[in-house]
């Protein structure tokens, strides 16, 4: 798959629209999934996905091939979503959604209706910003930790640390306090 992606991105950089269309078709669900998990509602995720592919179209010629195309796409998607989240937070009139959007009415596939549980969605929204992408990429998308580190351009140890703390916060937020209260563990840094 990655070889094909490289061919497609190279052709897209030369203005081949068919190649760009194929690349988008191969990756758009993946990008949309990341955006939806990052942003929490489908409209925002669709907007972000649109921005991601416009960025890909504009910057295809800058892809250096040092990493997989999907890594590059994930990085653009995460950065686009973080930008949207920061813009949201700057605009008091546009608060973070505290609800889960209903599934698209036109969805025929059962998978399309697969939304986060409301309580889990809310807990994700309340995570510190730097914890969100590691959780989305590693725990929801199932990416290997070294790949997450490459996407986020941070050390693997930092990914582990953020995941660890993110899960702890999620557990606490979800009321899943299986551990004893007053736990002696403080902030943990890898």
């Amino acid at each position: 798959m990655s070889d094909r992606d490289r061919v497609l991105i190279a052709r897209a950089a030369e203005g081949d629209h068919d190649a760009f269309t194929e690349l988008m078709a191969r990756t758009e669900d993946m990008v949309f999934a990341v955006c939806l998990r990052m942003l929490g509602d489908r409209e925002a995720a669709l907007d972000a996905t649109q921005e991601v592919y416009l960025t890909v179209f504009r910057k295809a010629h800058t892809f250096r091939g040092g990493s997989a195309v999907t890594t590059w796409l994930y990085r653009i998607a995460v950065n686009t979503c973080y930008d949207q989240l920061r813009r949201r937070s700057r605009r008091q009139a546009d608060p973070l959604p505290d609800h889960v959007d209903p599934p698209d009415r036109g969805a025929q596939d059962a998978l399309e209706a697969a939304e986060l549980r409301p309580e889990l969605e809310g807990a994700l929204r309340r995570l510190p910003e730097e914890f969100l992408a590691p959780v989305v990429l590693a725990d929801i998308q199932g990416m290997a930790l070294p790949d997450v580190a490459e996407v986020l351009e941070i050390p693997v140890g930092t990914v582990k640390s953020r995941l660890f703390r993110a899960r702890r916060r999620l557990a606490e937020d979800l009321g899943n306090r299986s551990g004893p209260s007053g736990h002696p563990m403080g902030e943990h840094h890898a």
Binding site: G15, M24, E28, D29, F32, A33, L36, R37, R42, L46, T49, Q50, E51, Y53, L54, T55, F57, R58, K59, H61, T62, R64, N79, T80, D83, R87, R91, P103, D104, G106, A107, Q108, D109, L111, E112, A114, L116, L120, V135, D139, I140, G142, L145, K160, L163, F164, R167, R168, L170, A171, N176, S178, G179, P180, H183, P184, M185, H188, H189, A190
Partner: protein, 265 residues
């Protein structure tokens, strides 16, 4: 329990502990706190991993494709048929530079005012800046950023072409720039609007936009789109800089080559 135990337990819970797991197993079996943490990590991870995959609905997919292609096509349609007065080898953003100079001064000046003026207090002043000739507006901005003819740093043909364009360029301002006039929150001005203004100016001046040329490598690290080249003065020295609009945040920032360092405002 120590940090290294936490690392061990986290890796054990992740299933990424490839070495001997016996120590981790002993910890979980013998230490209540360790076991609780292990369970907590596993439960949350399993909860997240158990989520069903996300797919776009077909209607969403169609909307996405339509939106992406319409925006791509919109960018292509602004290329006028008129021949360029500058050599084709000059990158498109370089061609934009002198035409956009007035825009840049206003935008950069606005950005600086927004950054340094604290918003409310300075809100009334920028209208004045917008009405001033570009050079005056630039001078009014309390910044090291001023537009100036290029000095060095380019190959001779491009340098000459750029110098000619700078001479020809009138210090705008287009009526459309009112939309970006100070007093309007820059955050509300989309990059599309800024680009539309630039494109109108390009049309009016018959300067063509062409396929983007390869940009400096450091642009890879920027999230934004380089809108135009500017020549700025930093610490008394002329520097080659680029105005970069971030399509997502609508922030406009000037970056200085060769490392794309943000220009201090």
């Amino acid at each position: 329990m120590h940090d290294h135990d936490l690392d061990l337990i986290a890796a054990y819970a992740d299933g990424t502990l490839t070495d001997d797991t016996s120590h981790a197993e002993r910890l979980v079996a013998s230490c209540e706190v360790c076991r609780a943490e292990y369970e907590r990590q596993r439960q949350v991870r399993d909860l997240l991993r158990g989520l069903a995959p996300v797919r776009m609905a077909e209607a969403e997919r169609a909307r996405l494709h339509e939106a992406v292609w319409s925006r791509i096509e919109a960018r292509r349609e602004v290329v006028p048929p008129a021949p360029s007065r500058v050599p084709r080898r000059v990158p498109w953003w370089l061609r934009l530079a002198p035409v956009a100079a007035g825009v840049l001064v206003v935008v950069v000046g606005l950005g600086v005012l927004l950054q340094t003026g604290g918003g409310v207090e300075s809100a009334a002043e920028p209208d004045v800046a917008a009405d001033l000739p570009a050079t005056t507006a630039a001078a009014a901005a309390p910044s090291a950023t001023t537009l100036a003819p290029p000095v060095g740093g380019q190959s001779a043909p491009e340098d000459q072409a750029f110098a000619e364009m700078v001479e020809e360029a009138a210090p705008v301002p287009s009526p459309d720039l009112r939309r970006m006039s100070p007093g309007v929150d820059l955050g509300e001005t989309t990059i599309d609007e800024i680009e539309a203004v630039l494109e109108d100016l390009v049309k009016a001046d018959t300067v063509t936009t062409a396929e983007p040329a390869p940009l400096p490598a450091c642009f890879d690290r920027l999230d934004g789109e380089p809108l135009a080249m500017v020549f700025a003065v930093l610490d008394g020295e002329p520097v080659e800089a680029y105005l970069v609009g971030d399509a997502a945040t609508t922030e406009v920032v000037v970056f200085v080559l060769p490392d794309c360092t943000p220009l201090p405002g």
